[in-house]
């Protein structure tokens, strides 16, 4: 994130001011007393240990050669605005917004969402900064597969919809995510999302299904762990 290279687009880094200049030194008294850093760390640990979504993604990433280490690949920081997290491809880190995540269920969802970005980064040549289609695709997948668009989550946002509402939600959230980190017009962003929607909505890797619930995620995990037997006997 070279300051001199900053053009019109800062790629959303303005939402994560601590990426360049942390307010409190890591593990300092200031960090402990004046931020939600410790709470974030505890919730992160719980998410990685107990969420079947996270466990499947961690397993899939390890198998793809990108083993995730909590201390290296996750960072709890204060963020601007209402953003909950992000994936920084330059440093291969998932940023969790400690000032905006206060419930375990939310943490689980954010961790899953960002791990999906990390998984895409790991298994494909994703051009995060220059290719809008790639960005849109990963956002569609993350909204689709992380539980972001579950019926109950949408209800809590006062978005009432039933038949096929999931897809509307995925579109909307992918759009929002793109607009938050890139300087493009809404029309342009909508066009890109439309172009890649069908392809990316149907890419369910590594779940092989859309996990609507923890039970779905557990079943997906079970299937993933026995994939050797599965493919050997097809």
């Amino acid at each position: 994130m070279d300051q001199s290279k900053q053009q019109e687009d800062d790629y959303g880094y303005n939402l994560f001011p601590e990426r360049n200049a942390p307010k409190y030194k890591k593990d300092s008294i200031g960090a402990t007393l004046f931020t939600f850093n410790h709470k974030c760390q505890v919730m992160l640990h719980l998410a990685l240990e107990t969420s079947p979504y996270a466990k499947l993604l961690l397993g899939a990433m390890k198998n793809s050669g990108c083993q995730v280490f909590k201390d290296r690949h996750f960072s709890c920081e204060d963020c601007d605005g209402a953003v909950s997290g992000g994936f920084d491809a330059t440093s291969s880190q998932i940023v969790l917004c400690q000032n905006n995540i206060h419930q375990q269920a939310h943490m689980n969802r954010v961790v899953t969402h960002e791990l999906i970005h990390a998984f895409d980064h790991c298994r494909a040549h994703v051009d995060w900064f220059n290719n809008f289609k790639h960005l849109a695709c990963s956002e569609i997948r993350a909204a689709n597969l992380s539980g972001d668009c579950s019926f109950s989550n949408e209800l809590s946002r006062f978005n009432f919809g039933l038949k096929q509402h999931h897809q509307e939600c995925v579109r909307g959230r992918a759009l929002r995510s793109i607009l938050a980190v890139r300087k493009v017009s809404r029309e342009e962003a909508e066009k890109v999302v439309d172009e890649v929607f069908v392809s990316c909505f149907n890419d369910h890797a590594p779940f092989e299904r859309i996990p609507h619930s923890k039970k779905d995620a557990k079943f997906a995990n079970r299937h993933y762990e026995s994939r050797d037997r599965y493919y050997a006997n097809l």
Binding site: S92, A124, K133, H165, C200, H212, S213, N233
Partner: protein, 117 residues
């Protein structure tokens, strides 16, 4: 030394007894039950606007049991075909990006604590 060149297709059937159903039979049954559950039916409607079809899981369970019991080649083929089409369903899209042959080289590189860039 005498060498017998054997056509793999001829001997494939000989080794069928070492192969197993792709999933355990309990897995097929639990997938069937899960598919039929109220919550799954609700989620399916919420996502696709249609009702899920679950009968294939039940059929697969039957074929799985048949395979284990009698190694019937009919049951095997039916199960393989069913799973084959499941795999094909998951691949039914044109990827937007190119898959990597190796993981990104900087994934494990340590973070530079001092900003020297």
């Amino acid at each position: 030394m005498l060498v017998n060149i054997v056509d793999l297709n001829d001997i494939r059937g000989l080794f069928d007894f070492v192969l197993r159903p792709p999933r355990t039979c309990e897995d097929y049954w639990s997938e069937f039950r899960h598919c039929k559950s109220l919550s799954n039916r609700f989620h399916h409607y919420y996502t696709f606007g249609t009702h899920p079809t679950c009968e294939q899981w039940k059929e697969d369970y039957g074929n799985c049991k048949e395979w284990e019991k009698s190694h019937s080649s009919q049951a095997k083929e039916a199960l393989r075909e069913s799973e084959g089409s499941r795999v094909a369903e998951q691949r039914k899209f044109t990827p937007v990006w190119e898959l990597r042959k190796e993981p990104p080289r900087d994934w494990h590189m340590p973070l530079n604590q001092g900003k020297d860039s």
